[in-house]
Amino acid sequence: VIVQMVLVVAAAILALAAPLGVGIALGLDRQATAAVQRRIGPPLLQPWYDLTKLAAKVGRPADRLLAGLVLAQLGLSVAALVLFATGGDLVVAVLLLGAGHVMFVLAAASVESPYAQLGASRELVLLVAREPLLLLVALAYGQAAGSTLVGEIVAAGPYLLELPTLGVTCAVLLGIALRKSPWDIATSHHGHQELVKGSTTEMAGRWLAAAELGHWYDVAFVVAVIFLAAGSAMVLGLLLAGLAWAAALLLDNAVPRATWHGALGMAWGIGGAGAALALLMASLGGGGLLP
């Protein structure tokens, strides 16, 4: 029992520390993008420099409710990842992550600024675009493993041969989580585009840092969902996550920003098809959730 508790605590701490990895991965992402575009690019730790600098600033957001909602978003995203890491129910964790996303949309919508309102509505599109995909991925794993508990899913993996099409859905999910094109409608890192992170317009200083940190936990969650495909083979998981990230990066550089119709259609069309096929294969494979 004690060993189990220690493991759970260790997993929770690992989950809390997940942004460390996400920050580095984002740095790598920016360097790779720069290399593709023949630029020098920022240093590896640039996302970290940005985040810590923001956090150290005097925080004066435009509104108290907005600040509270940003905290709720951060807290719910952390809760989702901790539930995941401690072997909890994957579908519940997805619902919690969705709740965190709702809080972020509401935070953006709480101030009457055209930029923030536009950003909020676009975030809402992404929320509706990705929530079904996450749910379906969780259910496909559950069908194949006979349980939706992360612990059981890890134990019954890997799923590469069983649910190959799930990889497509996971790549779409990562693309959305990283807000890469064609799903960068709500945000953009490029100053020349028509709306740069409208949703965070009214956040500032440490509140903006909190929103960004919440987003990193969100990315960590999607990466963790990709890791699940490898079962307990961590190296394979890392490879899969790297592959998915590379696919998202490639797509980002190959495809322009979509309209929001397009973003929704592509998410549901491509990601949904992958997930539906995976579900079909899982239920044909004689798996299924135990009654």
Partner: protein, 664 residues
């Protein structure tokens, strides 16, 4: 002996008290004296109703989950005259509907009423011919855990809605240019509605079920058209038309079921050849009453009625009658019919939520969200497993509380703000926090974990398991539902300095009803699992004869998964407390970003216009215009939902016909 007395008291309180109260209200004198007596009479009726419910609860809690016969004064098995009356009643009501159609000079209503009379009359003649009931005939009324749940919802939520009307309806009638004395008549109809619902829920004899069923149709027709203007009449006739179609299906089911048929008899005779056909007919009837696609237009039209009517139709009675019947039939449906019902429900769930994303009339948003929830309830019934049934019960209870609350708040806010256009209500949560807070609570309860409704959704997603079309639709619907509530709340909380023109305040009766429902809704945060264990699992146990518990102490469990409700509730409450504590005294710089051209330093979004002079920056809401095929495709989303719904109904009919052919 004591149990029998208690049950007699329950039947009297649940069926007799509302009818008595209605009669008293009807006979109240006009003028001030009548108005002064209105509240005491109503409260007395509600108190008797509550006493009846209490008696039923005592009996239900006294033993293991079971089904108890309720002694009934008008017992068909004992009184030949009563038996004759019950046999004749459905046909008589069908003829009454013909008369209503004639009076409304509506050919379609007359045709539909005749369609209902066509199976109802032969069934009545046959029942009269077979006057002697079989010796084995039990009581006409049965009390079991599922019935108890429906009674609690109907008395609890329905009673609060009646209370709300005491304060709301006189103002509403005055606003519509009528004599506020009509309130007594209005309350009388509400009480009859409750009595009809209780009869329907307790009935085991199919004739009594049909009478309760048709009476709810009649009450909804009267109440939707109560304002008497053109719009109300049209909406009432539309609702009647749809429900007559459903009534025809139910009458057909009765005809096929044979003489002296009972619900319990149907459910325990799976080998009967006609059973699939009977179940199919009843499922179609339930789908119309529950306003599943393609029958949802009647519920949308009913939105013109006063807020208490909407609340009653959506939360505790009427549409819940359909869900109740589906849940009741769930164990007997079998794979084919069950799948058809589940797909029809999941389709309604997803499509209604997508339709709601495009609406900005708050009441229509709520109405479509109700259709979505009723779809989910149909899924719970169609999946046909104990865990799904338990989840359905959980969903039914908390949906009743949250949706009743939402409708009452929208009604109260309409009287204060004069509008229910979401764009006109932007910033309501800032201007009137205590008015908007219950609506925000209802939204959270409908959409977010770890509230009980999210728990039920979770269980149904898992129970959907390998039924790929069902699961796909559920996933899309879950996201769209979260999206629609996010949109509503997002508009409410905008910090907009333009203040709404607010007039008047919310009355005492209204506040009491809203506060009670808000407490009930909020309890979904912690009571999900205990309630699932207390009512959901017993209902599943009685229905299926075995169960796999959904409630697990303070948490939910299903199909190898676990929903840690209690820890998550603690986390959410703690998170809320931390967020409030950290931001309460936060210094803010309220100036919104307007590209560096703000006119003033404060929160007003006023900027230098291009032609000089001040301009107000304002943004409208986002209603997904053109997102869904309406603009681009050959078929609009609305039409798509209707066509898809009819295909679903055809699938239900086909599954029933195939089942009947296979049985014969």
């Amino acid at each position: 002996m004591l149990t029998a007395d208690l049950l007699r008291m329950a039947a009297l309180g649940l069926l007799g008290a509302p009818l008595l109260g209605a009669a008293a209200l009807w006979l109240l004198p006009g003028g001030d004296r009548g108005q002064a007596l209105r509240a005491p009479v109503t409260l007395a009726a509600l108190a008797l109703l509550a006493a009846g419910l209490l008696a039923a609860l005592v009996v239900a809690a006294a033993g293991p989950p079971r089904s108890v016969e309720v002694p009934f004064a008008l017992e068909a098995a004992r009184w030949p005259a009563a038996s004759m009356a019950w046999s004749l009643a459905p046909a008589a009501l069908a003829l009454l509907f013909v008369a209503i159609g004639l009076r409304a000079r509506s050919r379609s209503l007359v045709a539909l009423a005749l369609l209902q009379a066509a199976p109802a009359l032969p069934a009545a003649v046959r029942d009269l011919a077979e006057s002697a009931p079989p010796a084995s005939a039990g009581s006409s009324l049965l009390l079991d855990p599922l019935a108890v749940v429906l009674l609690v919802v109907s008395v609890g939520v329905g009673g609060l809605i009646v209370l709300f009307s005491l304060g709301y309806q006189p103002k509403h009638l005055r606003g519509a240019g009528h004599d506020p004395a009509g309130t007594s008549r209005f309350l009388a109809w509400l009480l009859v509605f409750l009595a009809a619902m209780h009869l329907l829920v307790l009935a085991d004899d199919l004739r009594l079920l049909a009478v309760g069923w048709e009476l709810t149709t009649l009450c909804s027709y009267v109440l939707i058209g109560f304002d008497g203007d053109e719009r109300a009449r049209t909406a009432a006739e539309r609702a009647l038309a749809y429900n007559l179609f459903g009534g025809a299906a139910l009458a057909l089911g009765l005809l096929l079921a044979g003489p002296h048929a009972t619900l319990s008899g149907l459910l325990t005779r799976p080998e009967a050849a006609m059973l699939p056909a009977v179940l199919g007919a009843m499922a179609v009837a339930a789908a119309t009453k529950s306003a599943l696609a393609p029958f949802h237009p009647w519920l949308l039209g009913a939105m013109v009625a006063a807020a208490p009517v909407s609340a009653l139709l959506h939360a505790s009675t009427m549409v819940k009658a359909g869900s109740y019947l589906l849940l009741r039939l769930s164990p007997a449906m079998g794979a084919g019919l069950g799948l058809a019902v589940a797909v029809l429900g999941a389709f309604s769930f997803a499509m209604a939520a997508l339709l709601a994303l495009r609406e900005r009339d708050l009441k229509r948003v709520l109405a479509l969200s109700t259709v979505a929830s009723l779809g989910l309830l149909a899924v719970a019934a169609g999946l046909g497993s104990p865990v799904a049934l338990a989840a359905g019960v959980l969903l039914l209870v908390f949906h009743a509380a949250a949706k009743g609350l939402a409708f009452l708040v929208v009604g109260a806010s309409e009287q204060v703000t004069g509008t229910r256009d979401l764009e006109a209500l932007v910033g309501l949560a800032r201007a009137r926090p205590w008015l908007a807070a219950p609506l925000l609570l209802a939204a959270a309860a409908m959409a977010l974990p770890p509230f009980a409704i999210a728990g039920a959704k979770w269980a149904l997603l898992l129970a959907g398991g390998g039924k790929v079309p069902v699961v796909l639709l559920l996933a899309v619907g879950a996201a769209a539902n979260v999206g629609l509530w996010t949109t509503v709340v997002g508009r409410m909380i905008v910090r907009r300095p333009v203040v709404l023109a607010l007039s008047g305040r919310v009355g005492g009766w209204e506040r009491a009803a809203i506060a009670s429902l808000a407490i009930g809704t909020a309890s979904g945060l912690i009571l999900a699992a205990p309630l699932a264990g207390a009512v959901g699992d017993p209902a599943a146990l009685v229905a299926f004869g075995h169960t796999v518990p959904l409630g697990d102490g303070w948490d939910l469990q299903a199909l190898g998964g676990a929903f840690p409700v209690a820890p998550l509730a603690l986390v959410v409450v703690a998170l809320g407390a931390v967020a409030v504590a950290l931001t309460r005294r936060l210094s803010v710089s309220p100036q919104p970003y307007l590209g560096g051209t703000n006119l003033a330093a404060g929160p007003e979004p006023v900027f230098h216009g291009a032609l000089g002079g001040p301009r107000l920056a304002a943004s409208g809401g986002f209603y997904w215009g053109g997102a869904l095929p309406d603009v681009r495709g050959p078929m609009g989303l609305r039409r798509f939902v209707l066509v898809g719904g009819w295909l679903g109904v055809a699938a239900v009919a086909l599954a029933a016909a195939l089942g009947a052919a296979g049985g014969a």
